[in-house]
Symmetry: C2
Subunit: 233 residues, 2 copies
């Protein structure tokens, strides 16, 4: 199966891509129906369907029942980010991972998170401050709230051996979540923890995960200076 083989769905995808890149099919233009393409390529409609579904997922074409398939007018740049467990990210870079638990207590959910967390406003949540190291250099600073209704066993865990990050991934699978990225200035505390000059711009990530309607955890990760999140498109 080569990529130019028009009997395989990948081969067909390659040929469809070529026609879009070469502007044989202009942006916004409707392309032939699955049935016609299947006939042209001498394959089953299912195979063409598979190729077109793949192009639709990447955003290059837009498909609608009855209206047919069109080359996207504004192909969005769509990228898949893979966010690994911090330990794995560090070890993949060839460094030694270590983390240190700075703080751990039960406290009421801070008001700023009421909107995001919604439920269980009365109960205390577990709060953790963790510092992640790569080869003994600070790598990321983490502040996390864990909803004990979603992960009751967390109440009795110290999180000094295994990080909350890792424990939750293994023990509190989520169904969905919100993820956002932004930049912050290193304040007094951050600059000390991350060994950065005060005011340094730091890359930060915030994540909330739910299991069905039950919020599990809110975490804010702030990375040491120089951090880049990369991906391919």
């Amino acid at each position: 199966m080569s990529l130019s083989d028009t009997n395989s769905w990948k081969g067909i995808r390659t040929e469809l891509l070529r026609r879009i890149h070469d502007r044989i099919w202009q942006p916004g233009e409707q392309i032939p129906h699955e049935a016609d393409l299947a006939e042209e390529f001498g394959c089953a409609r299912t195979t063409v369907n598979r190729a077109l579904r793949d192009l639709a997922q990447s955003g290059l074409v837009v498909r609608k029942r009855r209206a047919g398939t069109r080359v996207a007018l504004n192909p969005p740049q769509r990228a898949t980010l893979t966010i690994p467990i911090i330990r794995e990210e560090i070890e993949a870079l060839g460094h030694t991972y270590r983390h240190s638990l700075l703080e751990r207590d039960l406290r009421p959910l801070p008001p700023v998170l009421h909107g995001a967390f919604q439920v269980t406003l009365g109960a205390d949540v577990l709060f953790l401050k963790t510092l992640h190291f790569a080869d003994d250099r600070p790598y990321a600073y983490e502040e996390r709230y864990i909803n004990l209704e979603a992960a009751p066993e967390a109440r009795d865990l110290a999180f000094d051996r295994i990080s909350a990050n890792e424990w939750l991934v293994h023990n509190a699978p989520y169904t969905h979540g919100d993820l956002s990225f932004f930049a912050v200035n290193a304040g007094d505390n951050l600059s000390r923890q991350l060994d950065a000059a005060e005011g340094t711009a730091l890359f930060a990530m915030e994540r909330i995960t739910w299991s069905a309607d039950l919020p599990i955890t809110h975490v804010r990760l702030i990375f040491a200076p120089g951090y880049r999140m990369r991906t391919e498109i």
Copy 2:
């Protein structure tokens, strides 16, 4: 077709997800073969295959020929980022888009980009500085290099009406690219352009795109204070 319907691939996916979430199938554990699941659900193997392929794409299970399908040990957090054209992003927020071309000239490729851009070291590239506005407030600052070998028509375009961002999306489709995100401090120039206090942490994005082996463009976008890039997982 409801999500609990085990005759639809989505329904089957839901049921498989439930078994993983409920730890009926433990992380690392092998799950039944497609054929067995098809028999259990009373459907064709193709349908089970579709559900399992979907779970594999999201990283929740790992599939290997002969070795079968296993629940992932470390389900990576995988998120799809959709990066729209700036104009559309702003208009989607209900604001009016406008941009201003600050600088436009031909120049040799700066040495820092030689590694990334690789080819055509001799020829000049088109350099553009653009400021994007939302309702007359600065939204993002852009520095861009365009390889004129990949997009020769760009040489004669002013990019004052349509932004380079948008023109390239429509006229120089790429096959692949690199994307990265990081944080920078507002220096003298940035703070003036983006109306930010000097030193403010700003969210930045860098992107290089290629058409096959030919680099098309390198762009660095720096967003005004407060910008967040969001997605759902």
